[in-house]
Symmetry: C2
Subunit: 518 residues, 2 copies
């Protein structure tokens, strides 16, 4: 991963001339904003004896103190994170990076942290977009980035129960490759898939683009092991039970603040033989959303289902007539079907019949294939836009169906008002449930002189609107530090007190990811 | 509810002569064991000023101190509970019964309990079978049964989101009747359905006979409000999210120990137009279980699916030839399909094709209808058997598919060994998941002179076997006091510590259902 950009440096592209033309049309003259190079990481502030103890815990080769290693574990990949990294602000760099090789070494690292009063930031793929990797430095003797990169084993496959136990450091494609040798898949494909890790998926309660078919990651987890400063706990004695509160759901979404997830057992499925993605056109966002609701409530959800609003439909496809060849732009829906040929055919037939009846127009598989081809590319595009002074960021929420229109209108209005004239606010529904759906907003605006403040104001306005509408501050990006104030409003003082009680019990010195979540 | 028996006294029956003959054949001469009548409730031990304060909180009419009221809220409906009640042991009677009418009155009762140091036992349908209504008396000034019977409103229906908000005191049929006026159903039908309450379903993480189609109760809950001694909390801002740990899953299964559930918002479905129940015969329990697994992993689960082992199949049907008319007894499976006529027909066709291919024999809808007709009757039969000296009790567990055979063999063997010659041990699978299933055991044995000790030994042996096999101590009966030692083993010391931390934070004086769960 590039320290100032998303993803594989080799996959970076510059904007095509056509895109530059569109940007000039939308935002005026292009101002190149190259990232600062060769920026210095602040001097580490951690006692030598603590570093020595970490070396004893995981081996000298796995304790990294060099600038490049520390720079690469500085913050995550939100636009504010990137803006800071681009200007050379590395003030949140960890003092040291440790790479435990197994659960015992994670336990050893936490023991050292306890002894030396070190803050510990669990690090998986480094793809947080909510400030989940920014630990409070005070009152600790140092900040350790606990990188799980060496814990990449497939620990067990149970092909009768259709479960697999994975180590947390496996990135999405690595986990899928190991499972594919057994003909299996997790089916979890968030936009961060190429870099995000199994541990991160669990710690942030992630949801992928195929969640309608395979389920959210929290629904896929049947068991997990968590190393805490108070000891190690394994939960998940059965698929489901009535044995008290579901402790799995306490650790899922705990964002490294209760413990370090050292293994995850997930439900797996056969690798799908067929994958078909079909585009649909709807006269309006509301009509498409109503169709999604009907699919969900009829029990007919495809594997993938997403719907862009009018603005996102127009932007994404450049030429609106590509959507079915009609004059009106309308809204584009992507439906995806994965499984055996028979299952794909049967579901597609049933969904086609229902969507047609509801007023949708099948615009074929080319549009669907185009979406599938580019499904992980948006973060690269963001970097190219930041290069030319266009601020791009996303945020997401979810609510019940009856509140969808209000939430959409309020958040869109909050973003447009705060970002001012000329800002683009796009939205899509990417996750659908029987009782409601997510809303995922993307904004693009000409950068002001202080783009961090510019985005902070927009984010504040949108977040206030979300909480005022009674919706959730995050559907699949987690809380981190960025969402903390609104998360506290969402769950109320007693909810915060409950999480704090768990935290204080498992991590009494408050070493784990301090300042994140609660 | 009868204080010594299950259910509606008017629905009680005595055993038919044919059954008495079978019992004599199985267990020898019948010894009538009538229940003691006119037994006295121990004198209440609670300060008058506490009772006066409760009267102020909920009104004088809603504070009951009479013997009948206290007797009816003494313990639940496990066989040990019934055995104690039948012999006149009412030592666990609450001192007073209070019936708050709304959430504010629940809050007022907890305030009084805090001031006067009273233990509070939330009481819904009174159908606990795990000692969930037996509060530790010390060191409290008195024990209050907080009966939610007056909180029976349907607070909201959202037919766009397909959710409904219900008060906790609604019993199963009452909730269904209110929802039926809107054409809706929850679809939650545990065997206790006729008496158990919405609050109890949530507090015990209940699972119903139609859970394959409608989902477990914990999966149906999208929001809930809980009154704790530290304040009132509402959780559930969206169908699903990434906003920290899922606090809904902390209160679901908390069995009244963290707070009193004052409202529950559940996913609802249209009342099914069609209901069809079809019987299938399998050559063995293993073959039937394998078929269930295939259905679950193919995404083809019917609304209801259950499978009796050879012993239960033989007992339940008296004449084994009724199962398809073959010589061999085999194992009976019930499949149920509910929904629109088209959905029922489509699912039934697909399931029939798959089960036939897997070696099952369709034995028609008469067997299925017979099951559906008697689905809530077993607890009545238990009373009739206790009347004639036959000890009957059930227990249940769940595990992953690859562990099913071991768990089945170990628990069956533990029960048979401890109950001795002539005991009947029956089993069925009643809940099925992609990754595993439940096992529900029923035992019948001639009562010894000390049936409580007789069952305690069997329960201990079975519970030890369950934990040794790595399975859960309870799939849908909750923890209560009866399962506490094994629950602690299942979640480990750190799991207990986590729950204790939540409890201490929300209920610092430990007033709520003391002794239950943790």
């Amino acid at each position: 991963m590039h320290p100032q950009r998303w993803g594989d440096p080799a996959a970076q592209t510059s904007l095509p001339d056509s895109a530059r033309g569109l940007i000039e049309l939308a935002f005026g003259e292009i101002v190149e904003r190259p990232a600062a190079e060769d920026v210095a990481v602040p001097a580490a502030r951690i006692p030598d004896e603590a570093v020595d103890a970490l070396r004893t815990a995981v081996g000298g080769d796995n304790v990294l103190t060099d600038d490049a290693a520390r720079r690469l574990r500085t913050r995550g990949k939100s636009t504010p994170d990137l803006l800071k990294a681009r200007t050379g602000d590395l003030s949140d760099a960890p003092d040291v990076v440790v790479r435990p090789g197994d659960q015992a070494e994670v336990e050893a690292v936490l023991a050292v942290a306890t002894t030396h009063r070190l803050a510990v930031v669990p690090f998986g793929g480094g793809t947080s977009v909510t400030g989940g990797l920014v630990a409070a430095r005070e009152p600790f003797a140092g900040v350790v980035s606990l990188d799980l990169v060496r814990m990449k084993r497939l620990l067990a496959v149970d092909d009768e129960s259709m479960t697999a136990t994975l180590e947390p450091g496996l990135r999405g494609p690595e986990a899928e490759a190991l499972l594919a040798e057994h003909g299996l898949t997790i089916g979890h494909f968030p936009q961060s898939f190429e870099f995000a890790s199994i541990g991160g998926f669990a710690a942030t309660r992630s949801s992928g683009q195929s969640s309608a078919g395979y389920g959210r990651f929290d629904a896929l987890v049947v068991g997990l092991t968590v190393v805490t400063p108070s000891g190690t706990i394994s939960v998940g004695s059965s698929p489901a039970n009535a044995a008290g509160p579901d402790l799995r759901q306490v650790f899922l979404g705990s964002e490294g603040t209760f413990g370090v997830i050292s293994s995850v057992t997930v439900r797996v499925r056969p690798v799908p033989q067929d994958k078909v993605y079909v585009g649909w056109r709807w006269p309006s966002f509301a009509a498409g959303a109503a169709a999604m609701r009907t699919l969900a409530q009829t029990g007919l959800l495809p594997t993938v289902i997403r719907l862009s609003d009018e603005a996102e439909t127009a932007i994404n496809l450049a030429d609106p007539t590509a959507i079915g060849g009609a004059d009106e732009a309308g809204c584009l829906m992507i439906t995806g079907f994965e499984g055996t040929p028979a299952a794909v055919a049967a579901k597609r037939t049933a969904v086609t019949a229902l969507l047609t009846e509801l007023g949708g127009t099948d615009v074929g598989t080319d549009v669907g294939a185009a979406w599938a081809h580019g499904r992980f590319n948006a973060p690269y595009l963001r970097d190219s836009l930041l290069d030319v002074g266009v601020l791009v960021e996303t945020l997401e929420t979810a609510t019940f169906w009856s509140n969808r229109e209000r939430l959409y209108a309020d958040v869109k209005s909050a973003l447009e008002s705060s970002l001012g004239d000329g800002a683009l606010v796009l939205c899509h529904i990417s996750h659908v449930y029987e009782t409601g759906c997510s809303l995922y907003f993307t904004v693009a605006a000409k950068e002001s002189d202080d783009p961090l403040a510019q985005w902070a104001a927009a984010k504040q306005a949108a977040s206030d609107a979300i909480v005022a509408a009674g919706a959730t501050i995050t559907h699949h990006h987690a809380v981190g530090t960025d969402h903390k104030p609104w998360f506290a409003q969402e769950i109320g003082p007693l909810g915060v007190q409950t999480l704090r009680a768990i935290k204080d019990s498992l991590d009494p010195a408050g070493l784990l990811n301090p300042g994140v979540l609660v």
